[in-house]
Subunit: 345 residues, 2 copies
């Protein structure tokens, strides 16, 4: 395949980390990424060059372009952590070479050449050759969310309690976890912000769905916690909602923070619970999990692909936005609930 | 020894837990304990009856009488978790019987018969027969603080980093830990509230002593953390001071809360640090540690007694207050810095 020397991409405006953290919503693209043309990168020895078919937009991408993620931005490089595409060139090593011509799901990780571009560079070992039965929409969202779902559900299973709590229940991630939980006989308790999400989530596998905006939310929460005794709290929001949930949970509960959707102050309502009730507060980051559990990564990727192939998992699509229209359209599409937004280069 | 049928004691006013938590300072005794006469208790099969020589007042006692500790109050029962005295009667089992006539350090734990009384009941297994070389003042403070010190320093040693941070550095507990740390080549960083405590703490074994009230405290803190890279934070205060310290600590730091001296709101300043820097927040409670590490308890008690016998540890005494004068005098004596207050029945 002929590879041009230049390509279109959405390039990072900022460098490093921000000094003024803001919320997790993307109010506009312009302050963070700008369209531009850059040289098509050359893959390193262990890397591949991918012609991107579809790139996903995850909450981690939004945090990253704002300078609020766990790795620094490099100004002028393309954004985008994840996508699907065709490998058009490989580094000198045998494995990258063997991928040329294959359709793969990929994550760009630390390569600094993101997926919001016509071409992207990724480490060959984090590319997943796709079965034909996997849709592009599922392939482009096969790494970040699915691995996070499998990794966090591992934590739930290790703890042993059947019930657990999740905030931001209507996210793609929580739906994946709810599906895993239902199959394994676990009982997810999830919070949402809209009544119309309740039926959707129950179908996905949630045992209880609570609308955090309902006037009787706190009473319902206490009731459900009393009945179900959940000890794991997978939290994407922090702030007052998460504080209230953790405070209401029983002895030995673990508040596992993996997202920061609410930029409001996060309070430990009763530190005495950490002393006398052995409660704990910790975090989850997929990159850290992958470092710690290298041997879990391969099986988890296989598992994810199987689930997307046989239809047990499926990615809900809000919009597929052409790269040229991304600056103008992405913020409004992202603001819509219940599905994922993709960029098509 | 003749045991009377009645005894004087300081009896709990409240029942269960408080609904209105207050600070850790003891503004007055009357709302929480009242002097009274009750029947001398009979020890159970595994218990002993002790004629109390000296009873200690720990921060945990203050939290308990206020209904802010991890176990419920029983109205009308004597307060006081710890003391020293002579065993005057034992239950039917051989071990309690064998202790009769011996001077012991004791902890009342779950017996509901506290040490702020002429007689107390304790489980025989948590009584420590004392060497003659151990002073009553050290014997009466030989369980709660020394075991907490040894248990928490175990956590520091397991982590491996030489430097660690402690708030409320001038407490008896922190001085014990500083002594352990110095011997083992560790480098405690402690915060105090008065300049005159700085020299005292350096002598006890602290590598750095920071006055939290000093105008350059935050800058000094950042500097020391940068140099020493401490990852364990043993925290007795919570509130804004503790939040600021945890926020300034490096990746993989653990905030271990064991006290609540500052009743002010405790904020997680940047929850993203829990996600991306693998920081954690947890608690420490001696009762929980004793449950989890039964086999560490015996050696730790031996170790504590050795240290008090050979003078490596010594309890600083602020005052010994007769039981009859305790209601009026204890709050003012407790408010003095640097030493322990005892009640003599």
């Amino acid at each position: 395949m002929d590879v041009p020397s230049e390509m279109k991409a959405l390039l990072l405006v900022g460098d490093g980390y921000t000094r003024t953290p803001s919320g997790s919503a993307l109010e506009a693209m312009e302050p963070y990424v700008q369209p531009g043309a850059v040289a098509v990168p050359a893959p390193g020895q262990s890397q591949v060059l991918i012609k991107v078919s579809l790139a996903s937009i995850n909450p981690s991408d939004v945090a990253f372009i704002k300078g609020q993620y766990g790795q620094p931005r490099v100004k002028g490089q393309p954004a985008g952590f994840e996508g699907v595409g065709i490998v058009v060139a490989g580094g000198d090593e045998p494995y990258p070479k063997s991928l040329v011509g294959k359709r793969v799901a990929f994550a760009t990780g630390v390569s600094n050449w993101g997926s919001w571009a016509e071409y992207a560079v990724a480490e060959a070992v984090v590319c997943i050759p796709l079965l034909d039965t996997v849709r592009d929409e599922d392939g482009a969202a096969m790494i970040v969310n699915p691995l996070t779902a499998l990794a966090m559900f591992d934590i739930v299973k290790q703890e042993g309690e059947k019930a657990f709590i999740m905030t931001a229940g209507a996210s793609q991630l929580c739906k994946l976890i709810a599906g895993l939980a239902k199959e394994a006989g676990f009982r997810p308790i999830v919070t949402v912000r809209r009544d119309e999400q309740i039926a959707l989530l129950k179908e996905s596998g949630a045992a209880h769905v609570l609308n955090e905006k309902a006037p009787d939310f706190k009473a319902m929460l206490r009731e459900v916690i009393k009945t179900e005794q959940p000890r794991i709290f997978l939290d994407a929001v922090t702030g007052p909602l998460a504080s209230a949930i953790f405070h209401a949970m029983p002895k030995r509960s673990r508040w596992i923070i993996y997202g920061r959707l609410d930029p409001d102050t996060t309070v430990i309502r009763e530190p005495g619970q950490l002393i006398f009730q052995h409660k704990r507060i910790e975090g989850f980051w997929l990159s850290e999990w992958m470092r710690q559990f290298r041997d879990r990564r391969g099986p988890a990727i296989m598992e994810a692909q199987k689930r997307f192939s046989d239809g047990r998992w499926s990615t809900d699509v809000t919009a597929i936005v052409p790269l040229d229209e991304a600056i103008g359209r992405v913020p409004a599409e992202l603001a819509k609930p219940n599905g994922k937004v993709f960029i098509r280069p």
